[in-house]
């Protein structure tokens, strides 16, 4: 794909650059370090989960990316432009939903979407079309009550809709599903999932299952640092390869004792005739496990690499430190 460039407010704007690039990003509030040297790259078209416990620095990162706050040191680039220099031209290509969106409560959903669209300078015909489509997407078609009377879920759906009014190249959502009931969460996640491949979505959350459900790539943030970033499947495979499930006809207790004594085994869980081993050396495990089954005359039924959930990966990476 040829690299093309255009100029925005006198700055080189590389339109083929990554939608988000963070390099050594830090943010200090007084004596507290909210961000501690974040390096991160978001590829175009991905639904990127920015995962971390409360207070990890997710909202601070999004505030910097959206131009609401400035980094202490390091660099944050959005759509190829440094956020410090990003003006209206860049903001016109971004959709943003803060963690607690505030609406003018005297407006209806349609009025708010029209107001937002006019700020982007959308022509009337385009605005009419987008407002109709987004009200439909948000499940708010025909709702004439004022936003002040909306439920949290309705507001959140309207929040996602308003962030899409400009058909953004980059959509940034801060905890879009937090504090929603299961139905509200499902509705918002369905909206995000429907955008996959059409726009780049950068989506912060502390809810692991949300990331597993809609994101193709994830970065795990802890105490202002990115612990890991990788495609979700790669991450699960990387950590899943360290888990081995062994099912035998008998002798699970003897096998459990034997494996617990091995240096390459870090944990053994025994349930009925199934042993789940967490191993530090997968090669040693592959050689030793069949031999142990034979030695204990256990009768092999099943031997396979275990599936790992993102939650286990997250707890393994972040939980121990806490």
């Amino acid at each position: 794909m040829p690299r093309t460039c255009c100029t925005v407010r006198g700055m080189a704007n590389d339109v083929s650059a990554h939608p988000i690039e963070l390099t050594g990003l830090t943010k200090v509030y007084g004596s507290s370090k909210a961000l501690d040297g974040i390096d991160l790259v978001v590829s175009e078209g991905s639904v990127y989960g920015f995962l971390g416990p409360n207070g990890a620095g997710k909202t601070t990162t999004l505030r910097i990316l959206s131009g609401l706050a400035r980094p202490t040191t390091g660099r944050a680039r959005v759509l190829g432009v440094d956020v410090g220099a990003a003006g209206n031209d860049i903001r016109a290509r971004i959709g943003f939903l803060p963690d607690v969106p505030g609406f003018y409560e005297w407006m209806t959903a349609e009025e708010f979407l029209r107001f937002a669209g006019r700020l982007f300078g959308l022509p009337a015909a385009v605005l009419d079309e987008r407002v109709e489509a987004l009200l439909d997407l948000a499940g708010l078609t025909g709702v004439t009550t004022k936003v002040g009377a909306y439920s949290r879920g309705m507001k959140q759906r309207l929040g996602v809709a308003q962030a899409l009014i400009n058909a953004p190249a980059l959509l940034m959502l801060d905890e879009p599903t937090s504090a929603l009931d299961p139905i509200g969460r499902k509705e918002v996640l369905d909206m995000i999932a429907s955008l996959a491949g059409r726009t780049t979505v950068f989506f912060s959350t502390h809810i692991l299952s949300d990331v597993e459900r809609v994101c193709d790539t994830v970065a795990i943030l802890d105490r202002g640092r990115v612990v890991v970033q990788a495609p979700v499947e790669e991450l699960k495979n990387r950590y899943g390869a360290r888990k081995v499930i062994l099912e035998v006809t008998c002798g699970t207790e003897a096998l459990s004792r034997r494996f617990s004594a091995e240096s390459w085994v870090t944990a053994v869980a025994c349930e009925s005739r199934t042993l789940t081993l967490t191993v530090s050396d997968i090669e040693a495990a592959r050689l030793a496990i069949p031999a142990a089954v034979v030695a204990e005359k256990a009768g092999l039924v099943r031997l396979e690499g275990g599936e790992v959930s993102l939650e286990e990966v997250f707890v393994g990476l972040v939980g121990g430190a806490q």
Binding site: D89, F96, G102, F103, R118, L119
Partner: protein, 256 residues
């Protein structure tokens, strides 16, 4: 100034569709309508009280009320109650949007912070001007009806002088509301400036040359005791520009 017109339109609709249309204009018109009636009835009320308990033997003699008393009632309401209400109301013009989260949603769209703040100032100044015009017309009409005489020029001059000072206060509150995070803090600072202007108005040079000269000017215009107001008007215009520009500059640099 991209987004200025759209945001100003939102401000205008917000004024028309929320309590804001009733708060200031409603209060001003109510005081404007009742002022001349109170001026007319005050001598009668005091006279009737002279015979009540504790007032025995006291004879209250007041001159016959005129249009001037009605106008002074109007200017007293403007310079006291309405000015204080204005400070309270305008104290949260920006901090209110920040606290409710609407500022974040708007300012991450292609509208500059300067346009946002300027629209806030103009809408609030416009609301004050609308209230002042409605109030002036109301009090003039009722004064004419009650007293049979109501000079237009004096009413226009007194109201215009107060409006100029009120717009300086709106500019002051635009700055404070942009800089201070809480509505209460901005309002307190606004009261501080109002008190400072009031004290300064007692000092000759300040009264002659600065916006402080407009604090008591409406009364002076109506009483016919006012001096030249050129310098207070000029410095008020300059101060308004400086306060708004300072607010725009500070708000552009502020983290939200």
């Amino acid at each position: 100034m991209r987004g200025f017109g759209v945001f100003l339109g939102k401000e205008a609709r917000e004024i028309l569709r929320t309590w804001r249309i009733w708060a200031l204009p409603g209060l001003v018109v109510f005081l404007a309508l009742t002022g001349p009636v109170i001026a007319k009835l005050t001598p009668e009320l005091l006279k009737s009280m002279s015979g009540t308990a504790g007032m025995g033997g006291v004879v209250v003699t007041l001159p016959k009320p005129t249009w001037q008393d009605a106008y002074l009632q109007w200017s007293k309401n403007l310079t006291q109650m309405i000015t204080w209400v204005l400070v309270v109301m305008a104290g949260g013009m920006v901090s209110g949007e920040r606290k409710s989260g609407t500022a974040v949603l708007v300012l991450t769209k292609p509208i500059s912070r300067s346009a946002f703040l300027l629209a806030k100032f103009i809408s609030n100044a416009g609301l004050v001007a609308l209230a002042a015009v409605l109030g002036a017309f109301s009090t003039w009409a009722v004064t004419l009806g009650v007293f049979g005489e109501a000079p237009v020029r004096i009413m226009v001059e007194a109201t215009a002088v107060w409006l100029t000072f009120a717009i300086v206060l709106v500019a002051v509150l635009t700055l404070f509301s942009a800089v201070v995070d809480s509505r209460l803090g901005a309002t307190f600072l606004g009261f501080g400036v109002l008190v400072a202007f009031t004290i300064a108005s007692l000092w000759g040079p300040a009264a002659d040359l600065s916006p402080a000269g407009l604090v008591n000017a409406p009364n002076a215009v109506i009483s016919g005791t006012g001096g030249r107001l050129l310098w207070p008007l000029v410095t008020s215009a300059v101060a308004t520009l400086l306060f708004v520009a300072g607010g725009m500059c500070a708000f552009s640099r502020k983290e939200l």
